[in-house]
Amino acid sequence: MIRFDAVTKTYPGGTTAVDGLTLEAPTGQITVLVGPSGCGKTTSLRMVNRMIEPTSGTISIDGRDTASMDPATLRRGIGYVIQHGGLFPHHTIERNIATVPLLLGTDKSTAYARARELLERVGLPQSLAKRYPAQLSGGQQQRVGVARALAADPPVMLMDEPFSAVDPVVRTQLQAEFLRLQRDLGKTILFVTHDIDEAITLGDQVAVLRVGGHLAQMASPSELLAHPADDFVADFVGRDRGYRALSFVDGVLPALAEPTVAVGDSAELARERAIDGWVLVTDDERPLGWYAVGSPGDQVTAERLALGGTLARQGGTLRAALDSALSAPSGRGVVVTDEGKLAGTLTAAAVIEVIEQQRTGRDRAPAVQDDPSAEPRIQHSPGGESP
């Protein structure tokens, strides 16, 4: 557990970066510090490993005051992932990952063997071990940054906007993989971001900081969306928080059976089976896309499918279900099983009905998810446990 106790950081010029911050980052969980620029989130993070010394207050890790520890020893025991990866450009990938183990006196062959294991752990091929960082893509560098922080197997990790420098698609992928990794490792993580969506996706609890280094609210993501403490938090969390809160709610989705055709079937058959001008095309029960009745040609071909609808998983969140319905050209969202096979379809109206039904009971019983196969964030809803 990382504990901030009335921590204040004032710079010589008189600027207060962090003002009386008190919070706890529980063992084995992800605590996200989020806020606009100038809210002192990075300063707070860097005070944990004493890259910045607090002006007053104490920070302790598992009950030990960090001020009493040797800074270099303290830092070697804490994984640190920095913005843009911060890899050493003049060291090979394996040498980068082995940095802390080598500092701690691990012999080179052991440290490099471990580095190669970690490369696979973060989803990179071992063949990258001998390359230099400049030869890797931004996303790959971020993964190496995570591997480097994990190298000495520290119980505590500090992460400073580790996924901010990559494009949104890669970022989503990295976030999902990071959560999967954390489920196995159970590190105590303090994570800094300016992106509230990222905070809500990754955090077991989220601390919202305001400019000047005041803690505005510390809560679970669903609590934050449902009950922002004040106007600042409500504003920061965003206008579509009602919609986003659906990410933390599941429901029994009333998926209806959907008639299907296969690629190669006749246009005539498609016309017979279509509902409201659209028919779902599947391959071995896996949905491929929607076929519009009246498309040119007398056969259903793969090239003529309208794609773009997202898929909702059975037992997934209401947000995914609603999105699936809204994004489908037919207006019928496709629900699939965990194996990716068609379970049925449902309309936006049907999802809204589930939301309405739940509205009455929701305040009393917070949603608890128990389906591990759905979106990763489910493991981080209140009451959810990391295995």
Binding site: R46, N49, M51, P71, A72, T73, L74, R75, R76, I78, Y80, I82, Q83, H84, G85, G86, L87, F88, P89, H90, H91, T99, V100, L103, G123, L124, P125, S127, L128, R131, Y132, P133, A134, Q135, L136, S137, G138, G139, Q140, R143, R148, L158, V166, V170, Q173
Partner: protein, 220 residues
Amino acid sequence: MTWIQDHLGLIGSLAVRHAVLAGIPLLLGLVVSLPLGWLAHRYRRLAPVALAGTGLLYTIPSLALFILMPLLLGTKILNPINVVAAMTIYTIALLVRTVVDGLDSVPKDVDAAALAMGLTGLRRLLGVQLPLAIPVIAAGLRVAAVSNVSIVSVASIIGVSQLGDLLVDGYNRDIPGALWAGIIGCLALALLFDIVIQVVARLLTPWRASTKPAAAGAPA
């Protein structure tokens, strides 16, 4: 041109002396500039003083510096040490700024990562900051090398011989061949220094050689 062919031995030995008188100060100057530059980089308030102070040294006329040296060092006027010391001062004048710029060029997040990994003072300097400053320092060293090769020729006036002798003699005794030999010799020497510095810098920075992105197929 027959003059040159007849005096190849002389030209060669003067060129070697020229290379030593210009080259040794380059190495000494670098050795002195590294800690000075690091101090100016580390303690920012020192930077303006250090940079202005060392930069001013470069404005002292070389002839004056050559003549001053025996007084400062207590050496004999003909001692080549005078020239080496003076040239070292010029090298420092150019290199301190270069070392500061080089250390400043280390990406902030890389430096912060080094600190966060628990690399301490000297290890961080020698293991991360200095290697990454090599390209900038090498660029400054190239300027200093060319400058040294050019300035050293003035030492002929105080009787320390090198390629400058050919220029002085060629002018006084009206020997065009000697003038040409002096000019071409200096140019060739400057070019040689430049190439050596570039090659060494490249050997010391293997990571800059290949920056092709990783092969397709690996995850992003």
